[in-house]
């Protein structure tokens, strides 16, 4: 989970992984936008070999949700 949060933080230019937790609602982040959404899809594909579709993204609210979704699709 810690590693996932670090990879998630790397999507952004100025987000410190320490400022994030599994409970972070990612859509409420100042740096969140549609490109960040596409970046999550790209990151989970590249790092975990998991294909996220739009429904997968929509079903997630927190970073932990994303993490669990990745685990369930591995």
């Amino acid at each position: 989970m810690k590693e996932f949060i670090e990879k998630f933080a790397e999507i952004f230019d100025d987000v410190d992984a320490a400022s994030l937790s599994g409970d972070t609602k990612f859509r409420e982040m100042d740096d969140w936008d549609s490109i960040a959404g596409l970046s999550v899809i790209g990151m989970v594909d590249e790092e975990y070999g998991v294909t996220f579709n739009a429904d997968d993204m929509r079903s997630c609210q927190t970073i932990e949700d994303l993490y669990n979704k990745v685990q369930s699709k591995k």
Partner: protein
């Protein structure tokens, strides 16, 4: 009506990517507008058979299973072909990714199908003299390679842009053989490529609002433009990019 230059009476047309979307619609509309033979090319045999079953009566359908990204398969396919009045190089793939996530494999696959395959097919068609004088070749490009730049679509746009540039060189070189070459640049069309699960359905609705005509195209509406370029009505058109985008480029 039979004498209309906008019809394809008696013509033999080859359509790649005829298993779905624009390719399937093009084959069907060609058959409705009088084509005597439609050669349906794609990898998916069962989908090609479905297309074949939808062709209008009086048009002979030929299912030709071929992996167009494999030059040997293309060579085998072309060897068996009759003389053609028209070719629609339409088969295409996409994988939406941001710049930093495209793998070499993704890039190679997208360019291979969208861009290199039509070049290899043209090579074989010309070399084996399968295109009549006169005849017409239409390439399915895209406004994403023309004017419509959106995130995560870079390699697709580049492949279509390259295809459109190639079309102009082919048009110039082949003009003395009576072969016209043109490209169509559709905006978003209701095809499996759009409802791919990656693009958010909400985002699709917002994007649709960017089209002055208020919706995406029906594949038929792209087919009709392709057929125009295939037909004798376009006899003096070669080397042209035809944008069919519901007014999207006005925005």
């Amino acid at each position: 009506m039979k004498e209309s230059p906008f019809r394809l009476d008696g013509k033999t047309i080859l359509v790649t990517g005829a298993s779905s979307g624009i390719g399937r619609a093009t084959a069907i509309e060609c058959s409705r507008l009088g084509a005597s033979c439609c050669i349906l090319v794609a990898r998916n045999e069962s989908a090609l058979k479905e297309t074949n079953a939808l062709l209008a009566e009086g048009c002979e359908g030929v299912v030709a299973v071929c992996d167009l990204s494999d030059s040997d398969s293309v060579s085998e396919l072309v060897k068996e072909l009759p003389l053609l009045d028209g070719v629609v190089c339409n088969a295409g793939v996409n994988k939406m990714q941001l710049v930093q996530f495209f793998t070499e494999k993704d890039i190679e696959h997208i360019f291979s199908v969208n861009c290199f395959a039509p070049m290899l097919l043209m090579k074989q068609l010309v070399k084996r003299k399968k295109l009549k004088n006169p005849s017409s070749v239409v390439f399915t490009a895209s406004i994403s390679g023309y004017s419509n730049v959106a995130p995560a679509n870079g390699v697709y746009g580049a492949s279509k842009s390259a295809l459109s540039a190639y079309m102009k060189y082919a048009a110039l070189e082949l003009v003395s053989k009576g072969i016209r070459c043109n490209a169509i640049h559709p905006g978003r069309v209701e095809t499996p490529l759009i409802h791919n699960g990656v693009t958010d359905e909400e985002a699709i609705k917002l994007d649709m609002a960017m089209y002055p005509l208020g919706r995406y195209a029906d594949p038929k509406e792209i087919a009709w433009s392709i057929i125009y370029l295939l037909s004798d009505a376009a006899a003096w058109i070669t080397g042209t990019d035809l944008v069919i985008d519901g007014g999207r480029s006005l925005k």
